[in-house]
């Protein structure tokens, strides 16, 4: 259908244009094809380059004997010395790099953010897709787009200046900047993505499902909860996975609102330090080629792989749902 070779040899064209012109056209066509194919490859290349160049700077953590004098894979994850078991203290007489407090901090904030964002955005999406009148939809959808458009530095600023104060005076926690404060901010960044993907999932459920359910006398809510939600479930789960991926890598919000203390604890009201905030806070002044520098890239590589796997999984799930529903309708 798209093979242009036969068509372009039609007699009208040969008459209308001199031969040289046609030669140029063919050449242009070939150059354009080459350039376009090349450009498409850039996205793949970029991912590979990100992997290679972050990996390259992270590798000395595993291989270099000089770096091993300060840090090794073992000391990153296992208890270090008896008195400082899991400590992240890179600027010290004896620098200590334990990723465990950072891992705990990252997971804590992420889980809090996801726990706030998922119920809100999934039920919000159900409302928009199933119950809302057109005018309500006209308000909610742009509102979500606006929320998605707020730069994360602004959310971080707002959390630090305003939300932290509100939560602190309401609950009187010891640490004003803590995992919950940052988690609330992070939830604001996660809501748009979870909402959008799950709203898509709800809308792609065929109308026939709803009609069938209603015809059998089910109420609006019964239809939504027993028919639409189960069919859209893979999409909703994928939305949650993608939201999780977004939360785990977000930087500015946690950097500004979490207090950044590297403690290994499970209390949600302790201050936390995340992977992303650690990179953002420490990379600026670190000596290029020092163990600290390599460890920060190692953290980056870890973060990259974590989000990569999460996203791959999420999109695979979304794709499966689409196939299933296309087959059904």
């Amino acid at each position: 259908m798209r093979s242009s070779g036969v068509l372009s040899a039609s007699p009208q064209v040969t008459v209308a244009e001199p031969l040289t012109r046609r030669g140029t056209d063919a050449l242009n066509d070939r150059i354009a094809a080459l350039v376009i194919k090349g450009s498409a490859f850039v996205a793949i290349l970029a991912l590979i380059l990100i992997f290679v160049f972050i990996g390259k700077e992270a590798l000395p953590v595993l291989t270099s004997p000089e770096v091993h004098e300060e840090v090794s894979l073992r000391s990153l994850f296992m208890p270090q010395t008896p008195e400082a078991e899991f400590t992240w203290q890179p600027v010290s007489e004896h620098p200590k790099y334990s990723l465990m407090p950072l891992l705990a901090g990252t997971l804590k904030v992420t889980v809090i953010a996801v726990l706030i964002a998922i119920p809100l955005s999934v039920s919000g999406a159900i409302f928009t897709a199933e119950f809302a009148s057109p005018w309500a939809r006209e308000i909610i959808k742009p509102a979500i787009e606006i929320l998605a458009g707020i730069p994360s530095v602004v959310v971080g600023f707002f959390c630090l200046m305003v939300v932290a104060g509100w939560l602190h005076s309401a609950f009187g926690w010891t640490y004003r900047l803590n995992a919950i404060t940052a988690g609330v901010g992070l939830a604001l960044a996660v809501i748009p993505i979870v909402y959008t993907v799950s709203e898509d999932a709800f809308s792609s459920v065929p109308q026939a499902y709803r009609d069938g359910s209603m015809a059998m006398g089910a109420s609006n809510w019964q239809t939504a909860s027993r028919v639409v939600l189960p069919s859209a479930m893979p999409g909703v789960l994928a939305a949650c996975v993608l939201g999780f991926g977004r939360a785990i890598g977000e930087t500015m919000i946690v950097l500004m609102a979490s207090g950044n203390a590297a403690v290994l604890s499970f209390s949600a009201t302790d201050s936390v330090r995340t992977f992303s905030a650690t990179i953002a806070a420490e990379l600026g002044e670190v000596v290029v080629g020092s163990p600290h520098y390599f460890v920060l890239f190692f953290v980056g590589a870890f973060l990259f792989i974590l989000t990569f796997v999460t996203n791959l999984f999420g999109h695979w799930w979304v794709g499966r749902l689409q196939k299933k529903l296309q087959g059904a309708s």
């Binding site: 400082a84 400590t87 992240w88 203290q89 890179p90 600027v91 010290s92 007489e93 200590k96 407090p101 630090l160 200046m161 932290a164 104060g165 602190h168 010891t174 640490y175 004003r176 900047l177 950097l255 500004m256 207090g259 950044n260 203390a261 590297a262 403690v263 290994l264 201050s271 330090r273 806070a281 420490e282 990379l283 600026g284 002044e285 670190v286």
Partner: protein
């Protein structure tokens, strides 16, 4: 090029009038965790620090902590303004940083040890070196500064340059 005094900040309602360097060290290494141990009310101390990429962090670590590590619970914030802002909103907190203005906070005088007198961070005490937590800020050059480098450094050392140092939160050098 200029002088910097590292001030200790507490919330305006904090009753503590003076810190000794030993007390500060104990607070930031985690040995003292309650305000009543330094003369305050019975409250957990919430200490704030600068990020470990800052010169202030290193200075504080060297001169106050005697190069020991900060306690793990210390919250680190990426800038003096962030520290000051955090302290101004929490009656149980303490923070350090370059001089900064904000309502709701108070800079507490510091004494070198138990027997010496308490010194507030002011222009005079920093310039005379009486304030224990003061430091010189330097430019590092490779060899004698020449050409543009020299012109720039001369400009910083001029009264115009020193005024700008003051405006961004440092103390001017003593005129000799």
């Amino acid at each position: 090029m200029a002088l910097d005094g590292i001030a200790i900040y507490v919330h305006q309602t904090c009753p503590v009038q003076v810190f000794s360097q030993a007390q500060l060290k104990a607070i930031y290494t985690g040995q003292i965790t309650n305000w009543k141990e330094v003369g305050g009310s019975d409250m957990r101390i919430v200490p704030y620090s600068r990020e470990n990429n800052s010169g202030t962090y290193v200075f504080f670590k060297e001169h106050v902590l005697g190069n020991e590590d900060f306690a793990r619970e210390i919250q680190t914030l990426p800038g003096t303004a962030a520290v000051v802002n955090a302290v101004s909103k929490d009656p149980a907190s303490i923070g350090y940083g370059g001089i900064a203005y904000a309502t709701g906070i108070r800079a507490v005088p510091v004494k070198k040890d138990e027997n010496s007198e308490a010194v507030p961070a002011t222009l005079q005490t920093v310039q005379s070196g009486k304030y224990p937590l003061s430091r010189n800020l330097f430019f590092y050059t490779i060899g004698e500064p020449q050409g543009e480098e020299k012109a720039f450094i001369d400009w910083v050392l001029s009264s115009e340059g020193q005024k700008i140092c003051e405006a961004v939160g440092y103390y001017p050098l003593v005129r000799k």
